[in-house]
């Protein structure tokens, strides 16, 4: 098992070691329901993929498989070349996940939650790390407040601090903006913007097209368990992309399109 997250020197050495995330042929079935149907995701260091799609498209299942929380029916996921399987938990040091739920203990304080997860990840500098992370998400004054007494927005920010506490290489975000007020969204956006530091790889599932386009380097639209379209985010405008998104979701654009070779997206 690894002793802890990779440090700066290790990160530098890994930079040219291939993709951070490599998922091939992912399929997930729930009985007769096909939630994810043969998706490939390959992302290098510093790439930020936003996955859009309607409810029931299989986005959360995809994200859960990328994080090792859900076993694919078929296909494989590798993070930094390590296959995510049940035999070894060392790769979990490299992944930080923010879900619909915060994974927080409501009876513990904000500081106690971070200390608990820090110990699970084998972190040794928690006395310095935890106050800094709480400060960054604007919760320094709430360090000793029990999570049950925090607002939804505060819990979401604390959950983000928890997900990033161990400096993961791969960050997985599932609808991080859901239910947040504008000020909480602004704090979250600032923290997510900082994730685009060229070192971290991010996959974010969201319905918020504006935030997704603003942060992402690559975009995918998932429909009925498959990527209906993937492409670069830099050339897309929100208005044009919103129309295109609805066309893809409603099936007016063929699912075979992908990136440069696919249907043209209004910029």
């Amino acid at each position: 098992m690894e002793a802890g997250p990779a440090g700066p020197a290790a990160r530098a050495a890994q930079r040219d070691a291939g993709p951070v995330l490599e998922a091939r042929g992912l399929v997930r079935e729930y009985g007769p329901v096909l939630a994810v149907d043969g998706i490939d995701v390959v992302l290098g260091e510093g790439e930020f993929l936003a996955v859009f799609g309607p409810n029931g498209a299989g986005k959360s299942s995809l994200l859960a498989m990328l994080g090792g929380a859900l076993r694919p029916t078929r296909g494989s996921v590798r993070v930094r070349g390590t296959l995510l399987d049940a035999g070894d938990d060392g790769w979990r040091h490299r992944i930080g996940a923010l879900s619909h739920q915060g994974f927080l203990y409501l009876q513990l304080t904000a500081e106690e939650n971070l200390r608990f997860y820090g110990r699970l990840f084998g972190l040794r500098d928690l006395d310095e790390r935890i106050p800094a992370r709480l400060e960054r998400v604007g919760l320094a004054a709430r360090a000793r407040t029990r999570v049950r007494e925090l607002s939804h927005g505060m819990r979401q920010r604390l959950a983000l601090a928890r997900a990033l506490l161990h400096d993961p290489d791969l960050v997985l975000l599932d609808e991080p903006y859901t239910g947040l007020d504008p000020s909480a969204s602004a704090v979250l956006r600032d923290v997510l913007t900082e994730l685009r530091d060229g070192r971290r790889t991010v996959v974010m599932v969201t319905h918020d097209l504006g935030s997704g386009l603003e942060l992402a380097t690559r975009v995918a639209i998932q429909v009925d368990g498959r990527f209906g379209w993937t492409g670069e985010a830099s050339a897309l405008s929100r208005a044009g992309f919103e129309r295109f998104y609805h066309e893809v979701v409603e099936g007016r654009v063929g699912a075979e399109g992908s990136g440069a070779g696919g249907p043209e997206v209004p910029s």
């Binding site: 098992m1 929380a69 790769w91 739920q101 994974f103 203990y105 608990f116 990840f121 084998g122 928890r162």
Partner: protein, 226 residues
């Protein structure tokens, strides 16, 4: 301290701290123990049956029924904000999670077991005999085996539609050795028989606890992983 032990200690600390703040499980188990002893006391016709003759079996059944109230809710609070999924997504080995949660449950149940013994001594006019330490050891070994099985099957039942209702159906058949040797040792010690007479019972309780902990450590990952 190794990472493994740090992880076990972190989960144990977290579980006990949450229980200290909520007192949810220990209060339910303690209240059940006291009320059961009162009802058992009324249910015995002392003109026909000496309470001391049936006390050992009733003590162990009270521990089992009361313990299920607490052990069955092992994963209840974990599910409130998806926290258990967060725990499973950490690099903590699953057997470390199992051991920590078993130790937390053992701590709670052992306190309740001692309470049960005290309450029965009060209502059934029992005396500890000359080997109270051996009696306390028998309760510890039996409780450990019980919570190891209970923790494993609480994980199984928490993922089903039947939930806690399923737990006794899964666990009770496996508790027969614990009840036989636990009640046997307790009856002899309360009757002030020599400790050598219960050495075999203690060995069987120890073996039961060892097998339950080992089996739980191996099987837990298959229960909690998708």
């Amino acid at each position: 301290m190794s990472t493994y032990l740090t992880q076990v200690r972190a989960i144990l600390w977290k579980d006990l701290l949450i229980e200290l703040r909520t007192r949810e499980r220990v209060l339910a188990m303690g209240a059940f123990a006291v009320l059961s002893a009162v009802l058992f006391d009324y249910s015995i016709d002392r003109a026909l049956v000496a309470p001391q003759d049936v006390a050992a079996g009733l003590i162990w059944m009270t521990i089992v029924f009361g313990g299920l109230l607490g052990v069955g809710r092992t994963f209840h609070l974990e599910g409130e904000d998806g926290a258990f999924r967060g725990l499973l997504m950490s690099p903590t080995p699953k057997d470390a999670v199992f051991l920590a949660k078993t130790l937390a449950n053992f701590t709670l149940l052992y306190v309740v077991s001692l309470l049960v013994l005290g309450v029965f001594m009060l209502f059934f006019d029992l005396e500890l005999g000359t080997s109270p330490a051996t009696l306390v050891l028998a309760l510890a070994l039996g409780s450990l085996g019980f919570v190891a099985l209970g923790t494993l099957f609480a994980a199984v039942s928490s993922g089903t539609r039947l939930g806690e209702t399923l737990l006794p159906i899964l666990v009770f058949p496996l508790l027969v050795p614990m009840i036989v040797y636990g009640a046997g040792a307790t009856a002899r010690l309360l009757a002030d028989r020599p400790v050598a007479e219960v050495a075999g019972h203690l060995r069987m309780l120890g073996a039961f606890a060892l097998v339950a902990v080992a089996a739980g450590s191996v099987l837990f990952r298959f229960v909690v992983e998708d």
